[in-house]
Amino acid sequence: MKAVCYHGKEDIRVDTVPDPTILNPRDAIVKVTATAICGSDLHIYGGYIPTMEKGDVLGHEFMGEVVEVGRDNHKLKVGDRVVVPFTIACGHCYFCKEQMWSLCDNSNPNAWMAEKLYGFSGSGLFGYSHMYGGYPGGQAEFARVPFADVGPLKVPDSLTDEQVLFLSDIFPTGYMAAENCQIKPGDTVAVWGCGPVGQFAIQSAFLLGAERVIAIDRFADRLDLAASGGRATALNYADVDIPEALRDLTGGQGPDACIDAVGLESHGTTLDAWYDRAKASMYLATDRPHALRQAIGCCRKGGTVSIPGVYGGWLDKFPLGAAFAKGLTLKMGQTHMHKYMPLLLDRIERGEIDPSFIITHRVTLDDAPDMYKTFREKADDCLKVVMKPGTHH
């Protein structure tokens, strides 16, 4: 089959690889009908994610049709149309039972690698390095889905692929980021980063009752989408001083909650951002947390900083003193996908949101190498790339 494979930093190729097969009793094989490039795939593309190997199949946002099921999978049938969560969870360990699905104990065959780095391992992930299991991803014609009797969500035929595809990651991720803000009626939420996760965090904050959402980015097209579709107040950090603007907008109090939807490759125009770039370029630091520092600095006393943006290593100049002095709550982590997918599917079915609003590019698998580059450079107003493996030019 055709698959999008990692060959090194900024080297993505479409290879022909063996079709996946059932390996375990609870598996299923899915024929992929739609798959997307995630902002976190760009961290792989940029060489930020350790334990990637040449030939690894990329992609963790995908959906499709079930074509084969393992002998102990009594939940799925051949022909079912499903969206697959990017986190792999067994459904029976302590963490799954406690609804902390992305922290599943039993789905990462290489847990020891993550344990060496982090002390404990989170769940396995599709197409996201060997440290997270080495599972081949979904930017391919077929994908093997482990524990497929608890992960994949069946979707009704009344909804198109484009309407439900983002249940695989970014919609639940944006939603959990907003839910982590513990929004009360009347609250103001500020969101750093208006990429796909930021857009869903903005929408979700409104769904959860925020009175006002402030969107922060430097790209006009992304800010426009947040303002028009998302009803957010847009701030371009290239033009305005963000801390000052946030104080002005909140009567000097600061936002009730701040969301860092940027993560480890943050871009900024202030002194600390240049310091981060210099250090990271000399391998003295792994992550560039400019947005996170600013979010902590701007958040009101007793507020919450919610972090859906991905971090992988050690942060330099982390303002823990400010977080402590203001009594902040910090919430973060991979999304507990299995918990959010059914309830967000309900919201889509009820017409409360149509997630397809973020799609800017619809292409084939063969276009992946070009699209990774376009998305990374934010060229051509690229916000979200959807690939349809069955299609050709």
């Binding site: 390996l23 609870r26 065959p109 290489n110 396995g124």
Partner: protein
Amino acid sequence: MQVLTSSARETIESNGRGDAAQRWATIATATAAIAFGISRRSVPGLCLAAAATPLAYRGVTGEWPRLANGRADDTRAALGGKAGVLVHEAMRVEKPLDEVYAFWRRFENLPQFMTYLETVTDLGNGRSHWVARGPAGALVEWDAEIVNEVVNKVIGWRSLPDSDIVTAGSVNFTPVRNGRSTQVAVRLQYAPPAGRAGSWLATVFGREPNQTIREDLRHVKQILEAGEIPRATAEIV
């Protein structure tokens, strides 16, 4: 390692005095193993270096290092010392005590989660026969007996004389979270037999011994909780 039964000790002692050429060969082998082990700058490498150290001692002195102050035929005294290799790991399993205990006590189940084991045969009367296969394909066999068993609490065992390896260990089962979960704690001591130090480590413990036991326990947890051991490829890691 201290579980030197009298016959195992005799074997070691009788092999302990070689001629000069043999002794120099021993020193050279041990030195190479230690140097290679240290040069790996990894935990398995250091384990290899550590494992080869008694070999070097034997090369220099013509004797294996004395592992215990007590009498060599006294297993309890031998177990009490500080030398030898002791491995201990614990894992919590989200299943009730009796289920976890029953799974482990059925020795035929062990190769399911100790992937280096070929077979374990229950011979009755607390005795069992173990066959392990290493990466090189070499078979290592030993007989073991249960020396302590309290149902739903502990299983203790040791290898019997004339085995390829000398080992003793125990696994403890403790209910936690109002009986919803069970903590499984393994303690394992072992001594490589004369002349087989490197091969035994390479055969049975293909990697860091602690890591091997940890992966074994993780497999138990995965089988009991999830019903299968996760894998990204056809092989189990």
